[in-house]
């Protein structure tokens, strides 16, 4: 018998009522409504897991231009720079006039041929506005900060285990602001227990018709996008062991809408529906060049520079030399900051460098020995099911008891300090008594941290305890990896970057992380592919796996023969100081150790070169305006000698707001052979993933790179683009006025929406000047065109990123030996 939804809706209505005996609201419908509304905001993780992600992800279903109109409308945000700024870029030559003129012609033509694009504006406005909206927002800010803070405040909100809505519903009855109004109190006291029923009731009281409810909830979420994004992230991490209490957007909206009712005093009566606003259009003023045309001209100007570099290398005009990898192969993260250090290493040593996603193919979480919880160390696109636990390296077991003793003393002191500082009875006395001590500590931190850098002992400490990655599945590590899983993941990692033959004596997986002081946004400078953690741990783990003879045997059976004398090592590149630490050198035999020492000395020279190159970004505006075919020389730019100690000191300076530039300025993702870019100075603006199209017969490696790393680069690019275009709406504003809340986020001042994007200091060189002009990412893929097209046909979500102009695509087709522009 055929079943239809109509039948379910009508014929069985009576039976269904049995299930609704306590409620007239279908909870599934309310949940679905909220899930749809929630697409207006992306997720924002806690600070220590910060990764750059496109805050406008929910608008990717639209063409980019149409999306910007909607984003401007919902968030009252800017999606482009001002016209004057673009005109200045034309005058300065950063926008190519020829490209701009060609785009203007195209725009004028399209304007005549195409019907005017009409964008449906939100069909309803928030009931609250002006001062009332401010009251709702202020109350929401304070309540969210209070509820979600599980670490900083000593007196937490009561009964948080019963949920966000429950706590609000009970606390508001005791709020002196409202307790004088008996009618209000009685109304609040009668609110439903269930958040679904409560949200449904609030929409009814506010007079929001069925058809407008989705839009109304979207507007409510866009009012304070920071809290909404963070709560959305928490909702996706329900029962995460880092937090005791769960929270979700449905309860958040139930509270927020009731606050609107309370502040509008609408609980007394229902109000009639307002007239709605209609349609907005994308029409520009007659005779004006639209800013999006300027923006595209800027992007295509840089694309032309990069395309020219690749084309000249394709033609064999420059830099095409056989790769000398006699000293080592070093695999770096595809992060844009690896471009500079790779270029510097290649310039002083016979080391081949490769690029890959910096989690090196291990979809795991990693529990450090001295951390309470494991942290995900893989891209946020993956939910890791495996866990690697750190254990003491057998060779340093004898030093472990001393290490444990100092750790327990340190933990005790920290705990005592926190209790004394925050306890009502002791806080004032503690401030009086310990003030002098704190003054001394502050002075020491201010003046002696530089001494620490200057007199740093670079020798390996003999007293240091080393930790090893316990990757194996065992009774003590039930979430570890089986041998088969280790084979599968490590082999895939090698195949993705095309490293399946010609292994060097040393193959070094080099993760990255940043060293900064007093920086709540430290994770934003760490590895995005490792979910905002340092990448060295994954590097160490994958090296350990590939040194296992059993794994090598299995991999050999699949056609990848790793020579017996090849040693895999883990390492970490400090992106603030450019120092590279190679782990576990003591597993290398003494004969080989000499060559490792030689490599370390070359890496030291490369670090100096790269620091100098990076510092040019700060001291010469000229160098930032284009990509360079060769390394930029500071003397040619008239820059005096670079103070290396000053750069290194940034890693220890607790007043430094710009320790490094992270991924600022990213403009392209290159997937292909290093030869095509080698020698060029791309100013740390290009993501680079190695790919060997000839070794990937079925295209599966490219498919994986496009499905995961490429998607990640687009997310990162989106964050940098929108945080730069509108730092108030999508960024986190200035660090100077930041106030950390609950160890998970920052507020501006003592109360504001949660700040979730990049700080002003991450992308602006001063309060008003962007370091780089933000651009959408252009993906360059070195592969046969047919292969790329086939992958895009299989994955409509990838294809849409290009057809909807969120990304540009250029295929470097080896069959036709030319670069083909797709969009």
């Amino acid at each position: 018998m055929e079943i239809t939804l109509e039948r379910l809706d009508t014929a069985k209505r009576k039976e269904r009522k049995k299930f609704k005996s306590n409620s007239s609201v279908n909870k599934s419908v309310v949940k679905a409504l909220v899930a749809n509304a929630a697409s207006i905001v992306n997720t924002a993780p806690p600070l220590k897991n910060f990764i750059a992600d496109n805050p406008t992800k929910g608008f990717e279903e639209h063409d980019f231009l149409k999306a910007t109109k909607l984003i401007e409308r919902y968030f009252k945000a800017k999606c482009f720079q001002g016209r004057e700024q673009y005109e200045k870029l034309v005058a300065d030559g950063e926008i190519d006039r020829e490209i701009l003129n060609s785009l203007i012609k195209q725009y004028e033509k399209d304007k005549l041929d195409m019907p005017e694009v009409q964008i449906l504006a939100p069909a309803i406005s928030l009931r609250s506005a002006g001062d009332t909206l401010d009251q709702v927002n202020n109350y929401t800010n304070q309540f969210c900060a209070g509820f979600l803070d599980e670490t900083e405040s000593i007196w937490g909100m009561p009964q948080r285990d019963k949920g966000f809505y429950y706590v609000w519903k009970n606390l508001i009855l005791h709020d002196p602001k409202f307790s004088g109004d008996s009618k209000l109190k009685s109304w609040l006291g009668s609110l439903p227990e269930s958040p679904e029923e409560s949200l449904s009731l609030a929409l009814t009281v506010l007079g929001i018709e069925e058809d407008d409810r989705l839009e109304y909830l979207r507007l409510s979420l866009s009012s304070l996008p920071g809290w909404a994004s963070y709560i959305k992230w928490r909702e996706g991490h329900e029962h995460w062991d880092h937090f005791k209490y769960d929270v979700n957007l449905l309860e958040y909206l139930a509270v927020r809408l009731h606050l609107e009712i309370v502040f509008l005093k609408m609980f007394k009566s229902y109000v009639p529906k307002e007239e709605f606003t209609g349609i907005i259009t994308s029409k520009e003023k007659e005779g004006e060049i639209p800013v999006h045309v300027y923006q595209e001209a800027l992007e295509r100007t840089y694309q032309k520079q990069l395309t020219d570099i690749i084309e000249s290398n394709l033609a064999g005009q420059t830099n095409n030399q056989a790769v000398d990898k006699s000293l080592a192969q070093m695999i770096f993260c595809m992060d844009v900051r690896s471009e500079g250090i790779r270029r510097s290493i290649e310039s002083v040593s016979n080391v081949e460098t490769l690029g890959a996603a910096g989690f090196f193919g291990l979809p795991v979480s990693y529990k450090k020995y001295d951390e309470e919880f494991a942290e995900d160390t893989c891209p946020v696109l993956i939910k890791p099911v495996h866990k690697i636990e750190e254990m003491v390296h057998p060779k340093t077991l004898d030093k472990f008891s001393d290490f444990q003793f100092s750790k327990s003393v340190n933990d005790l002191l920290t705990k005592t300090y926190k209790s004394l500082k925050s306890n009502v009875g002791t806080s004032f006395i503690f401030a009086e008594a310990a003030g002098v001590l704190y003054m001394a500590m502050m002075l020491s931190k201010t003046f002696f941290s530089k001494m620490k850098v200057l007199f740093k002992d670079n020798k390996d400490s003999k007293d240091k305890v080393y930790f090893d990655a316990n990757v194996d599945l065992s009774a003590s590590n039930p979430s570890g990896l089986t041998l088969q899983e280790q084979v599968y993941f490590s082999e895939t990692a090698l195949k993705l970057m095309g490293l399946t033959k010609n292994f060097s004596e040393f193959v070094i997986f080099t993760g990255h992380g940043s060293t900064t002081e007093n920086n709540p946004y430290a994770a934003a400078l760490d590895c995005g592919a490792c979910a905002g953690q340092h990448g060295g741990d994954n590097a160490k783990a994958v090296a350990k796996i590939l040194n296992n003879p059993e794994i090598r045997k299995e991999i050999a059976n699949n056609g990848i023969h790793i020579p017996e004398n090849t040693v895999f090592l883990g390492a970490e590149h400090d992106t603030t100081t450019d120092e590279i630490e190679i782990y576990d050198i003591d597993i290398v035999d003494p004969e080989k150790r000499k060559r490792i020492d030689m490599l370390k000395s070359k890496l030291g020279i490369a670090a100096t070169i790269n620091r100098e190159s990076r510092e040019l970004t700060n001291v010469s505006a000229k160098v930032n305006k284009k990509l360079h075919t060769e390394s930029v020389n500071s003397r040619e730019l008239g820059v005096d000698e670079i103070d290396h100690d000053k750069i290194i000191f940034k890693s220890q300076d607790w007043s430094e707001t710009r320790p490094e530039w992270g991924l600022t300025g990213n403009i392209a993702f290159f997937i292909g052979a290093r030869d095509l870019l080698k020698g060029s100075d791309l100013r740390n603006r290009v993501f680079m993933h190695s790919y060997d199209w000839e070794g990937d017969n079925d295209g599966s490696a490219l498919e994986t790179i496009m499905c995961a790393p490429m998607v990640v680069t687009q997310c990162i690019n989106g964050q940098y683009y929108f945080s730069s275009m509108d730092n108030v709406n999508f960024g986190s504003g200035s660090k100077i006025t930041h106030n950390v809340v609950g160890d998970f986020g920052v507020l501006q001042g003592n109360s504001s929406d949660l700040q979730t994007g990049l700080t002003l200091q991450s992308i602006f060189k001063d309060d008003e000047t962007l370091l780089y002009n933000p651009q959408r990412l252009c993906v360059y893929i070195q592969a046969p065109l047919a292969r790329v097209e086939e992958i895009l046909e299989k994955h409509s979500n990838l294809k849409n990123l290009f057809t909807r102009n969120w990304l540009y695509l250029k295929v470097i087709c080896p069959i036709e030996n030319k670069i083909i522009t797709i969009n």
């Binding site: 079943i3 379910l8 069985k12 909870k27 599934s28 749809n36 989705l214 893989c378 993956i382 994955h795």
Partner: protein, 107 residues
């Protein structure tokens, strides 16, 4: 040969984006569905074009199928919610009559 008794139930099969999996499974749990099956990484072709199942290192862009069996009333309520969800999200829904052996597992 012993007698084998089957009971009438309703089956819901829903194909959704991986990122909506938690939303839909929560709907099911809240309506009292006591168990369901998830088939990850499914392939297909539809309104949104081709979708390849296996996406290595990307769980969020994958599509999943969730299968649940429950009394008609429960399935109807979840289906009603899904109808709302599909106004803003990709997905398809199939509802059919099935016979089950161990009825207590589904109600």
């Amino acid at each position: 040969m012993s007698e084998f008794e089957l009971n009438e139930m309703f089956k819901l099969e829903v194909v959704i984006s991986g990122e909506d999996q938690d939303t839909v499974s929560n709907m099911m749990k809240d309506e009292g569905i006591t168990g369901y099956t998830v088939i990850p990484n499914i392939s297909g072709f539809g309104h949104y074009g081709h979708h390849q199942g296996q996406m290595f290192f990307n769980d969020k862009s994958s599509f999943v199928m969730i299968i649940a069996v429950a009394p008609e009333d429960v399935i109807a309520r979840v289906a009603e919610g899904l109808e709302v969800l599909f106004k803003g999200k990709p997905g398809v829904l199939f509802v059919s009559e099935v016979s089950v052996a161990r009825v207590t597992y589904f109600s």
